[in-house]
Symmetry: C2
Subunit: 146 residues, 2 copies
């Protein structure tokens, strides 16, 4: 499979919100037979378009503090910092960005103490010029992929 037609897109749209929907229901919604739908889904999985299925966990991060670390580096291509960040399991996501910032690091820590420790550890890295912490007080909007 190379090109994704409209029905493939429908499948992806539905599965990205309800990954455990019965094949029969899915087939009904996109207007195909169950077996044809089955083959399309299998094809999407095998070709790597569907990389997997994830449970969306809500409560689990209860008690966890989320924060953004806004990082400016001395010289942008500072490789070592990424290796260091990868070592901390609390680091959820790191994005290289354009503009005055260089990295946006998203972390989830169990306590403010751990946040400070982590912050200090990262700030003390030679490549870090500036580091601003923004603790998440509330998720105002959070949308799944549509």
């Amino acid at each position: 499979m190379r090109e994704l037609d409209a029905k493939d897109r429908d499948i992806l749209g539905i599965l990205s919100k309800e990954a455990r929907i019965p094949l029969k229901t899915l087939a009904g919604r996109i207007g195909l037979s169950r077996s044809a739908t089955s083959e399309r889904v299998a094809s999407l999985e095998n070709s790597g378009v569907i990389r997997g299925y994830r449970a969306d966990i809500g409560q689990m991060d209860k008690g966890l503090i989320c924060a953004f670390l806004l990082v400016t580096l001395i010289r942008t291509p500072s490789i070592g910092i990424l290796d260091q960040l990868a070592r901390y399991p609390e680091v959820r996501r790191v994005s290289s960005v354009s503009g005055q910032l260089d990295l946006i690091v998203e972390i989830e820590v169990p306590s403010i103490d751990r946040l400070n420790t982590l912050r200090d550890l990262i700030a003390s890295h030679g490549g870090v010029e500036d580091l601003t912490t923004a603790i998440v007080l509330r998720r105002d909007i959070e949308r799944a992929v549509d």
Copy 2:
């Protein structure tokens, strides 16, 4: 269900990576019978710990530009801005944060033009004092919930 024991955590860990694993296999991995596992999963779903199941789409976001908008508000409890943000489907997540910033808005747009348009629309809101754009050049680290 209030407290999550070790087995619940195991279930969440496995389902967060392989949401469509057969119940029997899941039961084998956590060391419980199939029906007990079934009940636990159902309980986790009903209590809202598992919010849903999503297909992880690879190719689909191709061509989409991700960006962070770092927003400072005039007066922090500026309700109107959230309503406005919620109207744009490109807005993926909005977090109220502590520190010099007030909001961190994550968006996904199909083009730089659309990014600029969105940026201007948000910046022109009365409650916005300052707005910095950080376009994501690369995702260096991205981890699923563990």
